[in-house]
Subunit: 351 residues, 2 copies
Amino acid sequence: MVPRVVFGRGSFASIDTILMPKRRNSEAPFIYLVDAFFEGTDLHTKIPLLFDDQIIYISAEEEPKTEQVDALVAKLKADYTELPSGIIGIGGGTLLDMAKAVALLMTNPGSSADYQGWDLIQRPGLYHVGIPTISGTGAEVSRTAVLMGPEKKLGLNSDYTTYDQVILDPNFLATVPKEQWFYTGMDCFIHCVESLEGTYLNAFSESYGEKAYDLCKEVFLGDIPKLEAEEKLMMASWHGGMSIAYSQVGVAHAMSYGLSYVLSTKHGIGNCLVFQFLEEFYPEGVALFNKMMQKHNISLPKGICANCTDAELELMAKIALGMAPLWENALGPNWESKISKEDLIAIYKKI
Amino acid sequence: MVPRVVFGRGSFASIDTILMPKRRNSEAPFIYLVDAFFEGTDLHTKIPLLFDDQIIYISAEEEPKTEQVDALVAKLKADYTELPSGIIGIGGGTLLDMAKAVALLMTNPGSSADYQGWDLIQRPGLYHVGIPTISGTGAEVSRTAVLMGPEKKLGLNSDYTTYDQVILDPNFLATVPKEQWFYTGMDCFIHCVESLEGTYLNAFSESYGEKAYDLCKEVFLGDIPKLEAEEKLMMASWHGGMSIAYSQVGVAHAMSYGLSYVLSTKHGIGNCLVFQFLEEFYPEGVALFNKMMQKHNISLPKGICANCTDAELELMAKIALGMAPLWENALGPNWESKISKEDLIAIYKKI
């Protein structure tokens, strides 16, 4: 779990006092990885740069990649004689996962692709701070950093991955574009459905998952003031992330991973594209999802897989079925007898 | 926040593998502070003692005291040439707070009474692990260790106080005596009421407080199987503790502190004794509390303050009114104009 968290409107301003005691010396900078969305805004004026501190803007248009992480690590090692004092990620799931991965790879040798899996990271990373500016992924609280690698889309899952400090400032949510707000929020809602309907569920995950689920319903189906909705979505993401940290996601995430891998579909919208056709697995969840789509006038793109070759569809299904723990959580220990490559291809063809 | 937590029936058995990497060497023992309730049971056979590890049984009949903490620290310093590898607290709030305080005082000089307050602890304590065997206080997750000192009942509140590791094993709850189960559970319920009705509330605390409140209602007013109720109460305590960590308690805790200080009333029952007469502050909470009492055939002792002298009643009220943040949370910034010593004495006299 994240050992330190501050919450509140305007709490981003406390970054100065939070980082101060963590600066090792003037040669050991803080590196800010910031969503390129903020380039040209005044955010940089609020970042307390000192000495050789650096802001690096990174596009979140594509899913974070192992080669991107490796290139950033190589750059930072070339730029400085000392290891940085810390890495600060500011953005949505892409930036938050990227910053976690960079912090880990600064102290663990080799390529980030070597660590895609569970508990392969052997050494603590650099001190790292997460500041979400979009809510839903749960990346701010999770023990994974999901990366697209040369062979798979899979996270660096370890106790060292989790942020050392998180700053939850709902003011950041004011500028999120509507579609992005919805798709990322649905990532949280879908997490919760998968966790609560899963066979891995326990009372710990359940209590977090139920709270996040209830908050999502308030945010996306209730009529609450905008500021309150921002704060509640931020907390939904937090609790949803905690829920899956102690259980697992399911069918939607497995299939969304396949889709992302082949078509580079972004995670949030990918989950939505898949989830709409998962009534047989999650009837109540899909019904609520449809209501939420309707209430917010969201229309998902169609024909995404229309031009896919058979080989591409096969690869999607193979990648999805490779996520064994997700299927076991969704369908139980005999999941392999309950789902086939053909079943998945039939669903992908609808997307 | 607690950086590491495991949850599950039987998870206590994982203590062996959790502690292994934390043992510095054979001269640096693990010290288990265990509720004397377990003396004579087979719990000691499940504790993986090695080298000079030691189990110390401690009575939870009275609230933990600064002098007790100081004596334990002196004993451990005399018993060993090296600092212990870690302190493990096994019990309810008393034992959990005691173990936190001992871990801190092994590395911070002076008496524990010197640190009663906020952020007075300057150095990290020894590695410390909390294992709750009764649920409700939230001590397993909080950043305080409440101690009765020579001058006040007040916690050692600091970022270093929080446990490094918690093991949540609902199996421990099977043997809790019914009254103790109820009073300690009500500590959680009362936390939540005070947090949710308080002026310090924010969306972070609210989401935790609401979940804990809902879980308390399920446990104490619902009809759910015993095992499920144990697990849900364990999670209620966890979320309730998180809720007050980021907000504050209120009238019941302030007044209960006064009662404890003068009459050594235990915290759980003390809260209940006070809360029953706080309708004017928490009408809905007190109504639910009365339903819970009725459902579980709990009758609180009467006439507790009947033989108190005027000086004792004055002292209770003075101690209670000394907890300024609790009153500000309950009644707002102008709390001093809304409550008087006489008001409190009138309530104490009913108890």
